[in-house]
């Protein structure tokens, strides 16, 4: 018994040696920071380190909940993320269905390939381009507005416009790429289903409704669950770049707030508490939506 086990190990030791490499990376940069979260319950000071800093319980959480910013930051985060979810879940599905119905092969693949491109453009460039188009000085849209005799709009400095800029630039960038997973699911649908339907005189819309959509439903549910799980994770990268003093009243979200308090002001413990709160909400959302999906349909994450 032990002999055969030894033989097994000798033959397959490389499997474990290989696996050790990613494990070490994950331990250092994923699990170690998870341990570091305890500073949310301490008054962390670099001099004492994580272990030596005194426990303070929920002090930082209480301070956050009672702070002037709490309500505002929460509302801003939810506004942008719910708006974003409502648009970014259905649009790739609709686009994928439209792609799927194109009969001309080269047209289909060209349109798809073009639609993926923005996904690879950096967020700095995206925001740069938003400035080119929506800026007040020399912005293309405002130039257009003046040309047709309309009043210029300060898109970038306006709290009301921030959510739209954020969400729709995200759509421009991500909707094509978002179709990929549905295209994949559609490519697995047996063709004879469509042929049988056509023989029976079904219209194209009926086929989409009765064949394609049911077939990709599991994929839709999984994507929706994962997207909702990130409800509090309004991306730092783009928000921070789009932020300015004038639109702060709608653009200050949890991630930018954590960054400012933590890295810029150096309030490590407080910022870690805000970050942890963020993570907990995300996890609860993931759990709730998954439960809901289990109840309603058969598909769920676990």
């Amino acid at each position: 018994m032990t002999k055969s086990r030894w033989k097994y190990f000798k033959q397959h030791k490389w499997l474990y040696l290989m696996l050790a490499v990613p494990i070490i990376f994950v331990l250092i940069w994923n699990y170690w920071p998870m341990y570091g979260v305890v500073i949310a319950f301490k008054d962390y000071s670099p001099a004492f380190g994580i272990l030596g800093s005194p426990w303070v319980g929920l002090k930082h959480f209480k301070r956050f909940f009672h702070s002037y910013f709490f309500g505002n930051v929460m509302i801003n985060t939810l506004r942008v993320s719910i708006y974003s979810l409502l648009v970014s879940i259905p649009l790739p599905i609709i686009l994928a269905l439209m792609f799927n119905e194109i009969r001309i092969k080269w047209f289909k693949s060209t349109a798809q390939t073009i639609s993926y491109i923005p996904n690879f453009i950096s967020v700095v460039v995206i925001v740069g381009m938003i400035n080119f188009f929506f800026g007040t000085q020399n912005g293309a849209i405002n130039t257009l507005l003046s040309a047709v005799g309309l009043k210029q709009i300060d898109f970038l400095g306006s709290p009301a416009w921030f959510p739209h800029l954020y969400v729709w630039s995200g759509i421009w960038q991500g909707v094509g790429w978002g179709t990929l997973i549905y295209t994949a699911a559609m490519s697995g649908i047996p063709q004879d289903q469509y042929e049988a339907a056509y023989l029976e005189g079904a219209t194209r819309l009926q086929c989409i409704k009765n064949i394609t959509i049911p077939a990709i439903m599991p994929t839709i549910v999984i994507s929706a669950i994962l997207a909702t799980g990130g409800i509090m994770a309004v991306g730092f990268d783009k928000t921070y770049l789009l932020q300015n003093a004038s639109n702060l009243s709608t653009s200050e979200v949890l991630s930018t707030y954590t960054y400012k308090v933590g890295i810029i002001n150096g309030e490590y413990s407080f910022s870690a508490a805000v970050g942890l709160f963020n993570n907990i909400i995300n996890f609860i959302m993931l759990f709730v939506v998954n439960k809901f999906a289990q109840k309603v349909g058969e598909t769920s994450l676990w």
């Binding site: 290989m18 994923n30 998870m34 994580i50 390939t113 923005p118 740069g128 994949a184 469509y194």
Partner: protein, 303 residues
């Protein structure tokens, strides 16, 4: 894919209307995606004073290269470009190595405790320490403001690893593996000589994902780097595009016409630097695009 060729039915009038409407909508969509890119290309080759003569540029006006030649003179941009190349190249190599070393064992049925290992990795997709605890770890490791902080963290994308594992499971014939074992090959040789040569699509796609992520990242550079000489291109780009600073302009004291000229250069440079910074990715893109469907799609659904 095979739908079009297999379909032989007479199109009804309703079908034709559907096709036309769908085709028109897709065309409009494609133009909306492309136009901003075309605009920037046009603007980058235009005379800056004339970019906004017409509201929406359809071709360059008053052709000029000035933006591009200025880039070659701007030290910040050049150094940033070089740094970005180094971070991206080294970082992507590490990404590929670490990801493969995780994906391959997890794809083998000989591995014991696979469920545990998979859980160990996937947990990190849903739980994270967050910004500050991660920062403290890097601080403790003493890699802040060094090249290492740009390369080592984020070496493993768990989702990518799962895509790769699934690809291995589905595309490497089991008989091939069995016979290699019988020939006395160990798993390292197997990975190197049998699995990797059969895995070009997934490796290409992974290289693209990781490479683009590294190239486009500004966040890590912003929090972890302090020396300007270490800044990658995206940080310099942020100064130029968003904060309106002009690279290493030591020319603050310029006056009159020189000042006006600087403003003009600044304007064209904004467009050309966008093109230059996106070019490496866009050149690489068509090479890899053909693998998207083959390489990841399978993995994406079953994973």
């Amino acid at each position: 894919m095979a739908k079009q060729s297999a379909m032989r039915y007479t199109r009804t009038k309703g079908d034709k209307v559907f096709d036309v409407v769908n085709g028109v909508l897709i065309t409009i969509f494609t133009l909306i995606v492309l136009y901003p890119l075309i605009f920037v290309i046009n603007a980058s080759f235009s005379d800056p004073t004339r970019i906004y003569e017409v509201p929406l540029l359809l071709w360059p006006r008053g052709f000029n290269w000035r933006g591009y030649t200025e880039i070659l003179k701007d030290k910040d941009i050049l150094i940033g470009f070089k740094n970005a190349v180094v971070y991206t190249a080294l970082g992507t190599v590490i990404n590929l190595v670490v990801t493969t070393l995780g994906a391959y064992p997890l794809s083998r049925k000989e591995l014991k405790g696979k469920g545990f290992f998979t859980l160990f990795f996937t947990v990190t997709m849903f739980f994270s320490g967050g910004l500050i605890p991660t920062y403290l770890v890097n601080q403790q490791l003493g890699i802040i403001n060094t090249i290492w902080v740009m390369i080592l963290p984020g070496a493993l994308g768990v989702y990518n690893m799962i895509l790769m594992r699934t690809y291995f499971q589905q595309n490497i014939p089991n008989e091939l593996v069995e016979s290699a074992y019988i020939d006395g090959a160990n798993d390292m040789q197997l990975l190197w000589k049998v699995v990797l040569p059969l895995s070009t699509p997934i490796i290409a796609v992974m290289a693209m994902f990781y490479g683009v992520g590294r190239w486009n990242d500004y966040f890590n550079a912003m929090i972890y780097l302090q020396d300007r000489s270490k800044f990658p291109l995206q940080l310099i780009l942020r100064e130029i595009l968003i904060q309106g600073k002009f690279g290493d302009s030591a020319n603050q004291t310029l006056q009159g016409s020189a000042q006006a000229e600087l403003m003009m250069i600044k304007l064209t440079l904004k467009y050309s630097v966008v093109i230059i910074s996106s070019l490496p990715v866009l050149l690489f893109y068509p090479v890899v695009a053909k693998y998207f469907e083959k390489g990841i799609l399978v993995g994406a659904i079953k994973g």
